[in-house]
Symmetry: C2
Subunit: 144 residues, 2 copies
DNA sequence: CGGTATCCCCAGGGATACTG
DNA sequence: CAGTATCCCTGGGGATACCG
């Protein structure tokens, strides 16, 4: 199985690389579903995707606007992140044939539906931040 | 700034490592919120967390049960993933002083509330899988 | 059984330089 | 302005061996 594209996340079943696929017993919770969720979360969870998607929530932005907005991102990673999002149909890339060139990136409808979930997770994170911080402190105290 | 614990995700602002923090202009969308979401998603999105959380959705499981359930995970990564979840207060670890030892892992209430969001994302992934696959195919065709 | 400790590899990603 | 191309280095994570 070859991956179709360099921007495509590796969706092959997670297991030892060259290991043979036996897959005897029925896996719990639909292994396919699980992998897909993991895939989505891997995309959503990589270092820059969330920043980009949130920046685009308010409307289209140009390449360098995003660069400034996601403070600290390298040009390379911005390009890679945007290409990945574009390939998955979450973002559109529009080139204006002017000089100097202008390229706008915008969320698609699909991208907006994902944004909703990300915002949900964001609210969860905000609401439970104190609990998480407390849990960490307790854990750290416990283990000397 | 030293990180308090080896299981703690690095929450320092994402930027060039030794770069000075100027942070002059007000960042869009509350940069703190954004980082927190990114953090949560980084936890949720790492290679194994989703598998583990879903396995625990139905009730407590022992170490080796999880190992078998998350097919392909290494012992090391299972331990690391579980420790991270435990530290964040998402999972409890219960040791029974029997011989041989028995250790149960279970979702906390906090863990369950996260599970809800993960499942939401899971449904999103399932519903939009065809759209994503189509978008990828179209993108790949476009770029020769 | 349920872990640590160690070694080691390679891909994710930053820095830099060049281009249409 | 909006990217490629190249180099290089770090740390995520697999394999293996050992321990309470």
């Amino acid at each position: 199985m070859s991956l179709g594209n360099k921007y495509e996340p590796d969706l092959r079943p997670i297991r030892a690389p060259q290991q043979d696929l036996k897959q005897a017993k029925e896996p719990p919770h639909e292994i396919g579903t699980c992998r897909l969720v993991g895939d989505v979360l891997a995309r959503a969870g990589d270092k820059w995707t969330v920043f980009i998607v949130r920046l685009l929530a308010d409307g289209p932005m140009r390449f360098n606007e995003l660069r400034r907005g996601a403070d600290g991102i390298s040009q390379r990673m911005l390009t890679l992140t945007l290409r990945g999002l574009e390939r998955d149909g979450l973002v559109t890339r529009t080139v204006f044939p002017t000089v100097p060139p202008r390229v706008d990136y915008a969320l698609t409808e699909l991208g907006r539906t994902l944004l909703v979930h990300l915002q949900g997770l964001g609210e969860w994170a905000m609401e439970n931040r104190p609990a998480i911080v407390a849990a960490r402190a307790a854990f750290d105290a416990r283990e000397d």
